[in-house]
Symmetry: C2
Subunit: 339 residues, 2 copies
């Protein structure tokens, strides 16, 4: 039996899968943010020409996948698997996009960690020779997430300082073999569900930070690497509150994150003056920033090594109403630029 | 690069992963059915000692996982990954069970196809040497599914003849290497989302049957096998309506399923006189029958080769209300008994 493990929870790829192409489609608010010019398509309005926000979420997911394939000059029928998910109940945006794309589909749900989860499973499929190329994607939509998880938009409720703004957008990556690529996936650390007892569905950063710290520590222990091995440690959507807690937790564990090393996609995607409180969230947040900013920097050689870790808060309105705490999960993928 | 493909959508395992142990926990109605004596634990009531049906679903999921590990004499911290899901919004039963089990977790959503999806991905992890042993599980609960997808139980609505009864139960399997096993997973066919335009959320059998036929045809084409290669072709929860449609579709494709070859878990789990209309459904249906009936028959040599195909209807109340049709998906895993 071939071994692809280093340490407890970390996989090392013997033929590091290549990210052949990537694409992002986001909403207008994301387009107004500091990364606005980097996305492949910024929608003029969040409905994306559809009749409902849910249909818009599906259309955005599908468009990101299609653009990703176009950039790689690969047709749908050449793709051997699509892995991904979203935040809608029953991951309907991804499922309906998979219907239109007609690619063999494995639906995933990891809340806002979905992009890392799909990247890891897609890498396993490619590295092991089970499928190639493989498309992976994750998306979210502010207008559907608010009404599904919190309140109808029309209610106009006041948001707490720790609240985050769900990103409207999808990021997609095509993994496979090839001579040129944006980056290679070299390692993957699968996260364990971690719960420190947060009950406030408007403070997901705090709910996710302990999982982020646990996965980071596990990754460094398994690989023997220290934080400064990487040019950037990317978290998905911890936001301001969660990022501060992560830094404290890592310092407590003797693995402080050096100044400037950590980037949180949720603190990067929006203009901080655009009423987003603690930052961005949603599985489209890390997925679209991975696509628009992180992978291009790896391809251009501005970064050589990045640890991409998306974090998810595992809650539903029902569990919140029943008094459950909010556990978190974080999965990490190590990316290296060049060929 | 190693190749593990035969044909378009089918994976062949070079080191067929072994199912080392399995366990099932079901509700009282399932216990009254013809398979009642075969489950590891039949609950006395559907609340499972909890305060809510959602908490019960979580407890059942967790107990099936724990029993599966106990039967293999393997502790939680030896398990390198847990893959699975359920029908609750945000797959909260699986997520909360993963928190308690503290096993690295990859959440999946494939509606009622989840047991096949998790079995396939777990097999890839084990065959490729990425993780071993790996636990996979899928569960559902009648009382949570009814109120989430259809009506509150208290409403007491009349059910249509095509309606199916969601199984309360979870089935779990531990995959890994070992000298003895219940069965080996030799092939996997990943399904494509298929939609023939059904809009009736009370007729999921009809919505899923086209996906089942598509995956079966794909599997036979990819492998060069014909239906009678298998001692049994198992479908998840097509029920009476969906099973009849599947037989018609397979006959139309020139691949008729011989008499007695096909078994649908949804037509097997309940006493047909127990008010279940077109049969059982839910991802716990195929998962618990796989565990309680199919794997023991393979171990005992009563069957040598089985194609296990779970089918999922990809819908949510929101998509139904917005007029979407109900696409289906089906994933198939080929199982062989003996060592």
């Amino acid at each position: 039996m071939r071994q692809h493990r280093v340490g407890g929870h970390t996989i090392v790829f013997s033929h590091p899968p290549r990210i052949l192409s990537t694409a992002s489609v986001v909403g207008p608010k994301e387009g107004r943010g500091p990364m606005g010019s980097l996305f492949d398509h910024v929608l003029e309005d969040a409905l994306c020409g559809q009749q409902s926000y849910e249909q818009s979420e599906h259309a955005i997911f599908q468009e990101a996948c299609e653009r990703c394939l176009q950039k790689a000059k690969i047709s749908r029928d050449q793709v051997q698997a699509l892995l991904g998910g979203d935040l809608l109940n029953q991951i309907m945006a991804a499922s309906l996009a998979a219907r239109e794309l007609a690619i063999p589909f494995l639906g995933l749900y990891g809340a806002c960690s979905t992009m890392a989860e799909s990247l890891i499973l897609a890498s396993i499929l490619v590295d092991g020779g089970y499928a190639s190329p493989v498309l992976c994607a994750a998306g979210s939509h502010y207008c559907t997430a608010e009404r599904q998880y919190r309140f109808p938009l029309e209610y106009g409720n006041q948001r707490t300082p720790a609240a985050q703004w769900t990103v409207t957008g999808t990021g997609a990556c095509l993994l496979g073999e090839g001579d040129t690529s944006l980056a290679r996936v070299t390692h993957a650390t699968i996260g364990t569900v971690t719960d420190l007892g947060i009950r406030d569905a408007n403070n997901m950063g705090a709910a996710m930070a302990p999982a982020a710290a646990a996965t980071l520590e596990q990754h460094f222990r398994d690989t023997g690497r220290s934080p400064d091995f990487y040019d950037c440690v990317v978290t998905g959507d911890l936001g301001r509150v969660g990022s501060d807690i992560l830094h404290q937790l890592m310092a407590d564990r003797g693995l402080p994150l050096p100044d400037g090393l950590h980037m949180d996609c949720g603190l990067t995607i929006f203009d901080p003056n655009d009423d987003v409180h603690a930052g961005g969230s949603g599985c489209g947040c890390s997925a679209s920033i991975l696509s628009a900013y992180i992978l291009p920097r790896l391809r251009e050689g501005k970064w050589k090594r990045v640890l991409f870790m998306a974090t998810g808060a595992l809650l539903s309105p029902t569990t919140s109403q029943q008094g459950e705490t909010i556990p978190g999960i974080a999965h990490a993928a190590a990316l290296e630029g060049g060929n």
